[in-house]
Amino acid sequence: MSELSEIQITALKDLLYRMADDELILGHRNSEWTGLGPILEEDIAFSSMAQDKIGHAQALYEILHKLGEAEPDKIAFARNEKEFKCCHLTEMPIGEYDFSLMRHFLFDTAEALRFDMLAQSDYEPLSNVAKKFRGELKYHTMHADIWIDQLSHSSEEAKARMQTALNECLPLALGIFEPSEYENVLSESKIFEGEKTLQDKWTEAITSIIQKSGLNLPDIDSLKPSYGGRKGYHTEFLKPLLDEMTEVYSIDPNAEW
């Protein structure tokens, strides 16, 4: 790709912040299961996926840094709530295990597809990390698909819980695809095909898994997507998360350990 224009850089940074902030915040949420998982394997699974997500966030912040933004640690720990561009789905507290599992399924399916698309990006630093991350995501989606299927085919209580979690998570998940004002710049520059294309692929993918599981997929077009996160308007849950995550950094930004 030839040298980026100013508007291309702005568009690219917007995309990178959305993706990286999703990874950091959901990574933090996933890590809240460490020591609390319903069974040991799930405790480890969520901890391991948390580690992957934080790793992805770091690599994406690194690309932002090379585009002139602050150092990765500073981006992660020294911004206020309004500057974060994560979607509402990632901010929600872990809730019960069914909620976390459904969120993981809906988010990671979208993320795996996003990386598949970005692996074709003309912006090489992004296509390079996307090619790497999609291999890791394979294990996340496999994990999610198996659990959605198994729990939805187990007891009545489990099935009812999964259905409630799906109904609760869907409008939040649609917020992943909140349109960006830079969609055209990104698609014309062959950096990213756009949120709409991604959402269509995602709808197809989740419909197939949900149908196999026997759960009812609400009519997506009739739902009101939880938008705002991409523009810095967040749920009441992000601020307390950031306060906790940045507690040590806030006391001493130069601390080393």
Binding site: I44, S48, D52, I54, A59, N128, F133, G135, E136, H143
Partner: protein, 160 residues
């Protein structure tokens, strides 16, 4: 004047802190070695997993090993320009992993399928009567399986 060969051979002394018999060269994570005219060494490394916490340990181990050689300076460049996959583990690396009682990652053509995780050969008894317990093991790169023949759990280095 130091040669690339000497650098590669020194790198073979830097072990993966999580599997201490296997070196960074065996793992296939060293993707290039460059030596400038004035003996400045640049080593290119790519992580097995993006969030691998061992990367910084290996990076500083590489710096300390290479610094002992007659070089002007050493830089380790960690990037995703080359993306690691489990096919990049060398034959020697696979042999050492096996000796360390890991099941090996199935070699693939770029596409990892769910079948590659089922019926993995047990490193203890060689049986294929095994079952994937969880793809998430003690580190990001390992899955846990169970052998129905020798009734023991074992770890597999994940195909990615």
């Amino acid at each position: 004047m130091i040669t690339k060969q000497e650098i590669w051979s020194a790198l073979d002394d830097v072990k993966d802190p999580e599997i201490p018999r296997v070196s960074v060269v065996d793992m296939g994570i060293i993707t290039g070695v460059e030596i400038s005219d004035d003996d400045f060494v640049n080593v290119k490394m790519t992580p097995t997993f993006a969030g691998c916490p061992a990367v910084n340990v290996m990076k500083s181990d590489i710096i300390s090993v290479i610094s002992k050689l007659p070089v002007k300076g050493i830089n380790v460049d960690v990037s995703f320009d080359v993306q690691w996959n489990s096919n990049m583990i060398t034959e020697k690396g696979r042999k050492l992993l096996k000796e360390s009682e890991f099941a090996l990652p199935t070699k693939h053509n770029g596409l990892v399928t769910i079948d590659m995780l089922a019926n993995v050969e047990c490193p203890h008894c060689g049986s294929n009567q095994t079952k994937l317990q969880t793809p998430f093991g003690p580190t990001q790169c390992r899955a846990i399986h169970y052998c129905n023949n020798c009734l023991q759990a074992f770890e597999q280095f994940k195909p990615v």
